[in-house]
Symmetry: C2
Subunit: 121 residues, 2 copies
């Protein structure tokens, strides 16, 4: 259903939820989904707060952001740990092209609305 | 979209994620959705683990469990606190009757498969 590549944001207990929310909203607008990987309760707390904030950022674009938590076994310094991955995406898994075609306000896409330079010929 | 009444489970940092997952799965199967309210990173951690576990419990019934975090201002002992509410529901917001009509294994519904007594006449 989703493309093979989804950007993974790493969030720690010291991450600022507002900054993470901005990053989440940006990636979701551009590619339709983002994943967050966290280890530990403090990091998870910041990530979930960020999702609650990001919901408000993308809601005006018609995106209903939901989150799907799963366990992931990872290895850190040779030790096995269990991380939590949060898949964050539109409830209906709408892709950005469809969203852009309907209700997205393009003025919020500062990076993508710059005029494209023609290559020198 | 959803009925006016959704059961709210309170989860603490000492809650057992497996037990909470069982409760979540039961309520979702019966009423289509459940909410969890948590205060603090430890409680949130247990709740998110429980959702990851509950996903596996309800997936065979065709339910794709997603979670939607929101902030809720509450008062405890006269002090303002910010709780996190997690709305937990099928991605497509399917209601149990529709789900039962498709793929649910009724042997798991011990309480609802009892033969209904005819009223005395």
């Amino acid at each position: 259903v989703r493309g093979p590549y989804v950007e993974v944001l790493k969030v720690s207990s010291r991450s600022n939820p507002n900054s993470v929310a901005g990053a989440m909203a940006g990636v979701v607008r551009q590619s339709g989904a983002v994943e967050v990987q966290v280890i530990g309760a403090g990091a998870l707390n910041q990530a979930i707060k960020a999702i609650a904030i990001a919901r408000g950022y993308v809601a005006p674009s018609g995106i209903d952001l939901v989150c799907v938590p799963t366990f992931h076994d990872i290895e850190i310094d040779g030790e096995g740990r269990t991380a939590i991955r949060l898949a964050i995406e539109d409830r209906e898994r709408r892709q950005p092209s469809a969203v852009v075609g309907s209700t997205v306000d393009l003025t919020t896409f500062a990076d993508t609305t710059k005029p494209v330079q023609s290559p020198a010929v």
